[in-house]
Amino acid sequence: MPVAAVEARRIRYGYGAAPVLDGLDLSVHAGQFVVLTGPNGSGKSTLIKLMVGLLTPDSGEVLILGKPASRRSVQRKVGYAPQSSPGRMVLPVSVIELVEAGVAPPGSLLSRPGPEERAEVSAALESVGLGELANECVFELSGGQQQRAVIARALVGDKPVLILDEPTTGIDPAFRPRLVQDLRERSDAGAAVIVVSHDPDDFHDVCDRILFMEDGRVRDVAHEEFHAGEVAK
């Protein structure tokens, strides 16, 4: 049995007395394209913050490729795109600078981007259709383009695990199929892709699983069940 790309075991996590996640189990394998959905407040964002090591569970454990998610060497193998666009910037930052920030120096903090890393950054920018805007200031992009730049930052380097929070929100509907297809191709190439979305319709045709969160736990739902409205969106 191969090691799961992402595994959560009996996770319990709460911000106060009532736990947001309560005994949650989850296993996502390499090559799977998973959509995580559920109502507001169901704990989707909390779960992905546990997956990328930003939060530590009160009990239970989250493993990435068999190792604790909070370990730095493990975190470098996860591409993470938060939902927010880079709207809090004070100084001008070019698109390429933003995306290069996703290339965490692999061994030494002192390493400089080599030709391979530059090629990876260019490829990620092309994936989200921002290749021609690489040297533009992020300020000058639309909100959707900024979100695509954030996604490109997560895609740099062909990481084995990709976790994206609402990647299609705010993005031009005409571009969404291209992004979804790119994620599918990455999944086919062996990456475990986990997408949080309020609207799984964007991913319906390409995803392998739809996971529905409620009552602090997560369960698989069939595509048909979801679209028949048998689960509360």
């Binding site: 090591g53 709207g87 910037m89 001008p92 933003l98 903090l109 002192l110 000058e140 909100g143």
Partner: protein, 278 residues
């Protein structure tokens, strides 16, 4: 009078020291501004005043005691911020008041308030020694080398702390390093433009550069140019007039540069206005 900057040794020392601070300050300031911590330099500067007073009381060099207190204070500030014990502005306010009050009391107790306070707060550029210049050069070299070597991770943290943490970067360590470099710079600039104004050279040239640049790197480049040019022009004004405090003229020059750059700039540095279609 301006020729004293070339012909007289005290003028040469002033010119070299001011240029060094003007060039080096933006290397730290750019990251502070991006992280919305523009006033950290001021907070650390106030603590350095308490350090100078401590040195006067226990009979050690004011520069070294200022350096120690500034480094410890900067570390404490970051620790309090990270642990969430204090919000950024509250912790800064406490540092401001603690530093300035402890400095005033300490210098008074040491009987040096009247002779030292003005020079520490507003600089004493024309009376520095070559030893001071060497110290500024060494501290400046440490700052520039650190930023150049750690540019990528420092920028990643400045752009998005949460994503940088999720990417496995040692965010807390890098933040601690940045405030530590701020402390080095504050003490380095203490004799040049004074503790009250050194933070301005970290922030104002960066703000000016941001008005005409398209990227962080270009902003930093412009800021270095503005910092150095402000040092020269401000020093020439002070030397030419003869009565003006150089620290004040240098900082005022940088503010004039900011206004000029803002007038010719193509974008607001703070405002985030999408202009192109998705």
């Amino acid at each position: 009078m301006i020729d004293v900057l070339i012909t007289q040794e005290f003028g040469q020392r002033a010119l070299v020291a001011a240029t060094l601070i003007g060039v080096v300050a933006p290397f730290v300031g750019a990251f502070l501004v991006q992280r919305r911590l523009s006033l950290v330099g001021d907070g650390v500067g106030h603590l350095a005043l308490a350090g100078v007073a401590l040195g006067a009381l226990i009979g050690v060099s004011g520069t070294w005691s200022a350096l120690m207190v500034a480094l410890l204070g900067a570390g404490l500030l970051e620790l309090l911020r990270v642990r969430g014990r204090l919000t950024g502005d509250l912790s800064l306010a406490l540092l401001f008041y603690l530093g300035i009050a402890a400095g005033a009391v300490g210098l008074s107790l040491a009987g040096r308030f009247n002779t030292s306070a003005l020079g520490i707060l507003f600089g004493s550029l024309f009376s520095i020694s070559w030893g001071d210049v060497l110290l500024i050069a060494v501290l400046g070299a440490i700052v520039v080398l650190s930023v150049v070597l750690l540019y990528r991770p420092l920028l990643a943290v400045a752009l998005d702390e949460e994503t940088a943490r999720a990417a496995g970067l040692p965010v807390d360590l890098l933040n601690l390093l940045l405030v530590g470099l701020t402390a080095l710079l504050v003490v380095g600039g203490m004799r040049v433009v004074g503790l009250l104004l050194v933070a301005a050279l970290m922030v104002v040239p960066v703000a000016a550069g941001s008005k005409v640049a398209h990227s962080f790197r270009a902003t930093l480049g412009w800021a270095v140019v503005v910092g150095a040019a402000s040092a020269w022009v401000g020093l020439m004004i002070a030397a030419g007039q003869g009565e003006l405090v150089p620290g004040g003229t240098i900082v005022l020059t940088s503010i004039v540069a900011f206004i000029v750059f803002a007038a010719i700039g193509r974008r607001a540095a703070v405002a985030h206005r999408p202009r192109k279609s998705t």
